[in-house]
């Protein structure tokens, strides 16, 4: 009598442990490689690390230096300009294309994948394509001249004041289709009865969108904002491939700044402090979002 009971007891105990055991390798990986590493980087940002990590404590000196660097200033300003334009333009184009596609368009199934395919490409591929297309020597400007439009002038990619906008252009090309897909999914989820009722009351199309449909897309707007801002802050590949941060430093962003200070200029302490600033920016955006998403579910 006692043995089967003990056996069953052991079995239930095992059953409660197995799931945790299965989860533990992933959890351990996360703890070390994500949270442990974050702590290590934060720690390094307070040390005198140069080419290799070293552990002489220097307090806030790296941050102090960082904020005085003109190079960092340029990178942050570029990120602000880039992120703002990227998010706004992607949202506008995405919303417009979604609304247009939602009008029982013939050929929707052909157009949708055309709008979306750039998202499957690597930023390095996107960068390469746009780099040569925008190159005044062989690309668009050259072509227009050959077509007889001699005064056509488009050398933004070589121009310090405008190069950052070419990064925006390429990034919008890559991601706006994705925003379209998110808004389209949102539009398809809207209850038609309500719209029909509003139409009966004499609402115009503009009013329908302005008053009823677009306000209901709030969750899609929020998701788009979070994903795009997160992509913008992390953007490294596109800048490297498209402009290499140039001309001069005209398109440096925090991601390229961190890389060059850490690995080519051997200022690891400053590099680490810049990565901490990047992390804090993302935390400020992501944590409230994740928190509300997870709370909603439970």
């Amino acid at each position: 009598m006692a043995t089967p009971a003990a056996d069953a007891d052991f079995k239930t105990k095992l059953q409660t442990w197995v799931p945790k055991l299965v989860l533990s390798p992933s959890l351990a990986l996360m703890l070390v490689f994500v949270y442990g590493f974050i702590l290590f980087s934060v720690y390094l940002s307070f040390t005198d690390s140069r080419i290799l990590p070293s552990y002489g404590w220097v307090g806030f000196e790296n941050y102090d230096k960082l904020f005085r660097l003109r190079h960092w200033d340029i990178a942050v300003n570029n990120l602000i300009v880039f992120a703002a334009l990227y998010i706004i333009i992607c949202s506008v184009i995405g919303l417009m294309l979604a609304i247009f596609l939602d009008q029982k368009i013939r050929g929707e199934s052909v157009l949708r994948p055309i709008f979306l395919y750039p998202m499957a490409l690597s930023f390095i591929v996107t960068g390469t394509a746009w780099k040569w297309f925008l190159d005044p020597g062989i690309g668009l400007e050259h072509t227009m001249h050959l077509w007889g439009w001699e005064s056509f002038h488009f050398d933004w990619i070589k121009n310090r004041d405008y190069a950052i906008y070419t990064v925006v252009l390429a990034a919008v090309w890559q991601s706006s289709g994705f925003v379209m897909a998110m808004f389209l999914a949102g539009l398809r989820g809207i209850d038609n009865e309500m719209l029909k009722a509003a139409q009966m009351d004499g609402a115009t199309n503009f009013q329908l969108y302005h008053r009823i449909i677009i306000p209901q897309l709030r969750p899609a707007f929020l998701s788009a904002f979070v994903i795009l801002s997160h992509l913008a802050i992390k953007s490294y590949d596109l800048v490297v491939a498209l402009t290499g941060g140039g001309p001069g430093r005209a398109t440096e962003v925090p991601a390229t700044f961190m890389y060059s200070y850490t690995f080519t200029r051997n200022q690891m302490g400053i590099g680490a402090s810049s990565s901490v600033i990047m992390l804090m920016t993302i935390v400020a955006i992501m944590v409230p979002y994740l928190y509300s998403e997870l709370r909603e579910k439970n």
Binding site: L29, V34, S41, F100, Q103, P113, A120, T128, S275
Partner: protein
């Protein structure tokens, strides 16, 4: 999606509709143009690009740029073409995708069907890992890979991609298993089925679509990664994206635009193929990336 939901109540007139189609077609052109230019110019001799018009079709069709990009182009110090790097990418992507998907499936299963105290918190921690800027882990990762003797190796890159992909794969499977009836799991438990047996017999057979989503997402992300490849790889492990960038940015000799374009298409081909074959799942993966399943 039901037939009714694609129906919109908004009515449009003839002129509006023409304008709609016009705008949509213009945007289709905008999205297609850069890729079309790459394709057209990848089958042109170099003189037709530098001396001629980028938008014009080739007068002499040639596949030499493709052959050169694949097999003989100068990348770094050796004239190897992109071929060895293509295999580097494959050797990195396949195990990384497989391991992260398997772990993600098990995690999702545990987090939905074997819930315990603080599981939501743990999930939140895993999810947050998806969104960190990877710059914050570059220095410690370089250090650890060096200490573990994995610096510059494919297994090192596999480890990196598994770790930073886990959050996403866990998210996918968690959202998917959340709607799987828990009563079935409880009933199987009462019948004496254990943890793995339930997973194997009950959950896994119905997981086809989400496995596809997870595999596609991971494949696309890891194939397209540049930052980790550039930071942690050397010649024997450098992925395609890094090699392509080296090819395009190389400052020595004549810029062979046609070879660059052919190389860029070669680098894009695997993910594009996946997108064409399984685009539906690709979109689903992107959507789930916005946390809500």
């Amino acid at each position: 999606m039901s037939a009714g939901s694609t129906d919109t109540a908004v009515r449009t007139g003839r002129i509006t509709r023409t304008a709609l189609y016009l705008v949509l077609l213009l945007f289709a052109l905008f999205y297609l143009l850069p890729f079309a230019i790459m394709v057209i110019n990848s089958v042109k001799p170099l003189t037709e690009i530098t001396g001629g018009n980028m938008m014009a079709l080739p007068q002499d069709w040639t596949f030499d740029p493709w052959v050169k990009a694949w097999a003989t182009a100068q990348i770094g110090v050796d004239p190897t073409g992109l071929k060895p790097y293509f295999w580097n990418s494959i050797k990195m992507v396949v195990p990384a995708v497989a391991i992260s998907t398997i772990l993600g499936a098990l995690n999702g299963y545990v987090l939905t069907k074997w819930r315990f105290k603080y599981d939501t918190l743990i999930f939140g921690f895993m999810l947050f890992a998806c969104f960190i800027p990877f710059q914050i882990v570059l220095i410690p990762m370089a250090r650890i890979l060096g200490l573990a003797g994995l610096a510059g190796s494919t297994p090192g890159l596999v480890l990196v991609h598994v770790v930073y992909g886990l959050g996403f794969t866990t998210l996918y499977f968690k959202n998917y298993y959340q709607v799987f009836p828990t009563e079935l799991v409880r009933a199987a438990q009462i019948d004496g089925a254990g943890f793995f047996r339930i997973f194997w017999r009950l959950l896994l057979p119905s997981s086809g679509p989400i496995i596809v989503v997870s595999v596609i997402w991971q494949f696309t992300n890891i194939w397209n990664d540049f930052l980790f490849g550039a930071s942690f790889a050397d010649f024997d492990s450098q992925p395609m994206t890094v090699a392509l960038n080296n090819l395009v940015q190389s400052s020595t000799g004549v810029k062979e635009y046609n070879v660059h374009f052919a190389g860029a298409i070669l680098a894009a081909l695997p993910t594009l193929l996946v997108y064409i074959v399984a685009g539906r799942y690709f979109v689903r993966g992107l959507m789930a990336g916005s946390v809500k399943g």
